[in-house]
């Protein structure tokens, strides 16, 4: 009997571990006592009213950057992925690997590399990239493009070429075939790649930490730099809001594309 309970017991504990920090964030954000003390003293929503406006500014920056980076990555990455899947040119394998390689370089390294680059770029051209929305978008393209490419390549691997041949046999031009056959079949891959890119852009700290600054500070970086110096209940309230928003997003994604499809893009 005891032996039978071991595996479910360990599994239950593992799930408790996985959800502990998320649950505690929400719990602590309503704690009237000191932000980090346990057990909670009394219920309060005070912290939520004390969130500084700068956090909402940071959220706006995050959403703008994620939106632009996702749109550009989708527009550039989808044809790129198709070319990688179908084109026949010398060194295709190498180009393929090169396009996905940013995912293998630690984001921190990409971040400082871009920061260095922006300094030199400023020396040469007088244009400022560091601490601007444009700089943040450029930084996030380093991973949003590969995510889109990977998702589209995965969708393409399941593609049945006979469908295109059938369309062409029925008299469709190559352009018509592409618009009415190829794109609709690849669409779920493109959408899940784009959503994944968007979420990862909202999540990023290292790149936005080095490319951002001032008015171009994203929400995760704002939280990150704040907890480096002090830690109050208002931070817990911000975190609580993020958890709430994540749950809403999760439900929306599930409705839109199904979460299994979504996480397929991560593999």
């Amino acid at each position: 009997m005891i032996r039978r309970a071991i595996l479910p017991g360990v599994t239950a504990l593992a799930f408790l571990f996985l959800f502990a920090p998320v649950l505690i964030v929400v719990l602590a954000s309503f704690n009237a006592g000191a932000a980090l003390s346990f057990p909670p003293h009394a219920f309060t929503t005070r912290w939520y009213t004390m969130i500084k406006p700068s956090f909402f500014d940071a959220l706006t920056v995050s959403l703008i950057v994620a939106s632009i980076a996702t749109v550009v990555a989708t527009l550039v990455g989808t044809p790129g992925a198709l070319a990688l899947a179908r084109g026949r040119f010398p060194g295709r394998e190498a180009v393929n690997a090169a396009c996905l390689s940013p995912l293998m370089v630690p984001a921190l390294v990409t971040g400082i590399a871009l920061f260095q680059f922006s300094v030199i770029f400023w020396d040469i051209s007088g244009l400022t990239l560091g601490g601007t929305i444009a700089g943040l978008v450029l930084g996030h393209l380093t991973f949003t493009i590969p995510f889109v490419v990977r998702a589209v390549l995965a969708a393409h691997a399941r593609f049945d070429a006979a469908l295109e041949e059938a369309a062409q046999n029925l008299g469709a031009t190559p352009l018509q075939t592409f618009r009415w056959v190829t794109l609709p079949i690849l669409q779920p891959g493109v959408v899940s790649g784009a959503i994944f890119a968007f979420v990862m852009s909202l999540d990023d700290v290292p790149i936005a930490l080095f490319m951002g600054g001032g008015s171009a500070t994203t929400l995760p970086v704002k939280i990150f730099t704040t907890v480096e110096f002090d830690f109050g209940g208002d931070i817990m309230a911000v975190a609580g809001l993020v958890v709430g928003a994540s749950i809403v997003l999760m439900l929306v994604f599930d409705r839109l594309i199904g979460l299994e499809q979504f996480f397929g893009a991560r593999q």
Partner: protein
């Protein structure tokens, strides 16, 4: 893939045209900056944020001989091994349970495994503060139960970073392991049992050897992600844990010794690159792998 017949010379141009924008963007935002950072590691620092014009290998020589740097490198690998060990210890039984589970809740459980990944990493890290802090949940429990007299230091040190990274990377290990164990047919274990093998023997002589490729693949993945991570070591290490990532960030944020940071970054990229390559070669999985 190959389109015989209608693939004329013109087709190559079409695909080159489709590829070009992406190639240009990635070259500008990634290849040139990262290449530039690599070059930076061959110069010497002559003042804060100032570098020499001469090219030298001195940074690498310093990095690979100075005990201070070797300590950081060793701690980084130690962190990776600790995280992999904990992830494996938790993931193996849980993945076995999930892989063998015959219930309509199985899909839901697998979804729950990955759902924490949708919550921002910074926020998940912050969630550990009220749990691991001196006045946090764990210390409160241990103190109330009378098991300890003074609060245990669980944060702003190596332990805190390990806990945070195990939490962040456990879903990846769980997914890999569940897929691998699912492919091992339960009949093999039943056969072993019928032949008189006890649970331990079945695990040691049947399950473990068959799941070894998955264990290896999952471990490599988790190890590379653990030594690449910056956010978690920075937040839960509280500026006190010096691993490659936090050292690199420090050189660029406060110390301003750019060449030293660039050298450490190059060493980290090379290490991670080799491990990723190894992981690709060892990837278990059938023809569906990209």
């Amino acid at each position: 893939m190959t389109q015989e017949g209608n693939a004329g010379g013109g087709r190559i141009d079409v695909w080159t045209f489709a590829l070009a924008p992406m190639a240009v963007v990635l070259a500008v935002v990634f290849v040139i900056p990262v290449g530039g950072l690599g070059l930076l590691s061959f110069h010497e620092m002559v003042g804060p944020a100032q570098i020499s014009a001469a090219v030298t290998l001195a940074n690498y020589r310093a990095f690979l001989t100075d005990p201070f740097f070797l300590r950081i490198l060793l701690d980084t690998f130690g962190l990776g091994f600790a995280v992999v060990g904990c992830c494996l210890a938790i993931a193996y039984p849980v993945a076995y349970f999930l892989a063998r589970l015959r219930s309509r809740f199985r899909g839901l459980l697998l979804f729950l495994v990955i759902s924490p990944l949708l919550v921002s990493a910074v926020v998940r890290n912050i969630g550990w503060f009220p749990i691991l802090g001196d006045q946090g949940l764990v210390n409160w429990l241990l103190l109330s139960l009378g098991l300890i007299r003074a609060p245990f230091k669980l944060m702003s040190n190596f332990t805190g970073v390990v806990i945070g990274l195990v939490h962040a990377l456990l879903p990846f290990m769980l997914l890999t392991m569940t897929t691998v164990i699912q492919r091992i047919e339960p009949e093999l274990e039943e056969a072993a049992a019928n032949l008189g093998a006890g649970p331990l023997q079945r695990f040691w002589r049947v399950l473990l050897p068959l799941s070894l490729p998955g264990v290896l693949a999952g471990s490599l993945l988790v190890f590379t992600m653990a030594i690449s991570a910056y956010t978690t070591p920075a937040i839960l290490g509280g500026n006190r844990v010096l691993v490659m990532a936090t050292y690199i960030a420090q050189q660029f944020r406060t110390v301003l010794d750019y060449p030293a940071g660039a050298t450490a970054a190059s060493v980290l990229v090379l290490t991670v690159g080799m491990l990723s390559y190894l992981a690709l070669r060892l990837r278990p999985g059938g023809p569906e792998g990209q």
